[in-house]
């Protein structure tokens, strides 16, 4: 056996466990979703071919459209707020000061506990009237506000909690990006008379583009299909009140495992995949892949 041949065989052997695993547990399910979408699957696992019926069903499914709207609102509020907050935190803890280690850890700590625990914590803090937040807000006349019980407020509350949970992680990503901004460039700009805003606008911001792009893509995908879109709402509100926090992934889960509509759930899965592909494509197009230069 030639050396080349041996090297190739060794490589395939090294790759086999993970590649086979990814095929069975990621790639095949992905493809399967597109197949199952054409079937009606009953509780006993009997498959019946129904053509496009599952897709036709979607048009009249008000709860689906409500969930899509919830997810859309969640994305357009969560992504920018999380971006600004975590970027501001990164700038705040960028340069050394006394106790910086503890401060950075403190911002990251919410990300360490599980979303289930996060959900329970905030449910407790937001218990109507008796909860800590109501007591803090009582002097301002807001003691009676039900943050998780009012449809118009629940989604906003969910956004704020998600930001609290994820800001530390995104802050670390920004810090890593900021580390690559050469100090000399900033110093040079300062010598040339650039104020702190100008240094930020013309030195740091352009150099940070790839990082910013990564954060936006990552947090958008997370907001649509991440665990935060399921675990947190499942524990916090179960999609309520009045379906005000019913995200698409929660709705798919309910269709599949509460109502046993596996075929319909699979069809919904394919729609979410399509939306994600379009979103990611759009972001790549608009930002030109987050490249450095403007041209």
């Amino acid at each position: 056996m030639t050396r080349k041949r041996r090297e190739a065989l060794a490589a395939y052997a090294f790759l086999a466990p993970d590649t086979i695993g990814l095929l069975i547990f990621v790639a095949i399910p992905m493809v399967l979703a597109f197949g199952v979408a054409f079937f009606k699957v009953d509780g006993f696992g009997n498959y019946q071919y129904v053509g496009l019926a599952n897709y036709k069903l979607m048009a009249g499914d008000d709860q689906l459209w409500a969930s899509l709207k919830v997810t859309a609102i969640y994305v357009v509020t969560f992504v920018p707020i999380a971006f600004v907050v975590s970027f501001a935190l990164a700038m705040l803890v960028r340069n050394h000061f006394k106790g910086i280690g503890w401060v950075r850890s403190a911002f990251f700590l919410p990300n360490v506990v599980s979303l289930v625990v996060v959900g329970l914590i905030w449910q407790f803090l937001l218990v109507d009237k008796r909860g800590a937040l109501s007591k803090i807000l009582a002097p301002f006349g807001l003691g009676d506000v039900s943050f998780l019980g009012t449809p118009s407020l629940a989604l906003g509350t969910y956004v704020v909690i998600s930001v609290w949970f994820l800001m530390g992680y995104q802050m670390l990503v920004f810090l890593a990006g900021l580390k690559d901004v050469p100090k000399e460039l900033e110093d040079a700009a300062q010598i040339d008379g650039a104020g702190s805003w100008q240094r930020f606008r013309y030195v740091i911001w352009p150099l940070l583009r790839p990082t910013s792009f990564f954060v936006v893509v990552n947090s958008t995908i997370g907001a649509v299909t991440g665990l935060q879109a399921f675990d947190l709402v499942f524990v916090l509100t179960k999609g309520g009140p009045a379906r005000a926090t019913s995200t698409v992934v929660l709705y798919i889960y309910e269709q599949a495992f509460t109502f046993n509509n596996m075929g319909y759930a699979a069809a919904l899965t394919t729609v979410v995949v399509a939306i994600l592909v379009v979103c990611t494509g759009l972001m790549f197009g608009v930002t030109r892949g987050g490249r450095f230069d403007e041209d």
Partner: protein, 265 residues
Amino acid sequence: MRIRFFPILAHVLAIIAVAPLLWILISALKPAEDVFNFGWPSTWTLDNLQYVLLKIPMPRFMLNSAIVSVTVTVVALFFHSMAAYALARLRFPGRGIIFSGIMSTLLVSLPVILVPLFLVAKQLGLLDSYAGLIVPSIFHAFGIFLLRQYYLNIPRELEEAADLDGCGYWRRYWSVILPLSRPVLASLSVLFFLANWNAFLWPLTITRNPDLRVIQLGVSGMQGQYASAWNLILAAAVIAAIPTVVVFVAGQRRLVDAMKTTGLK
């Protein structure tokens, strides 16, 4: 002026950020009737923690979670490092395609493939079993990617010495590459352990049997069973959170290193 203001602001914000966590810890140590009282508890008590540990099969849930998290972490790191070694160091036909194929799975998150993955797992007879909790959680491109990045930076000469000694590829991987990857494996093990200990959606989907319940399921189940007994729910939440905070504090530097490399370099 500015030099003084921002660090103080940072400290204040840091306290606000951890306040909810501290609040829960303190509340879990209050007697049931005090749990909503504002401020410091009049008496400290371990009754809530004790009740949850003794009356609810919390130790069983924790054991299940420990079995699953540790097994997934160890097996995943082993498989991922093997795959990463091949992708970083060996030349073979189809390397580009296999690499981009693996990377493209990064876009797929669990909630997206949940329904078809459940159907696959059911076909494979993985429902309601430890295997069902463990096996599908092993495979993830993230670890392969990070390890490959790391291996690209290990000097080739180290391996060539082993090659001259007549070592095969397995020996080179096992006795040269693997020992050199201890730091990155340590970082990833912190990350993997946390992710699996905190996993909720997959265990919720794949298990019905109460004996297989993992900690996050056990804790979220408290909600329904002990609807208004917040002292007990919080005690359970604290117990579920403690191992993660301990792992974080112990492996903090490693975790931060791993996070920083996420998709950036």
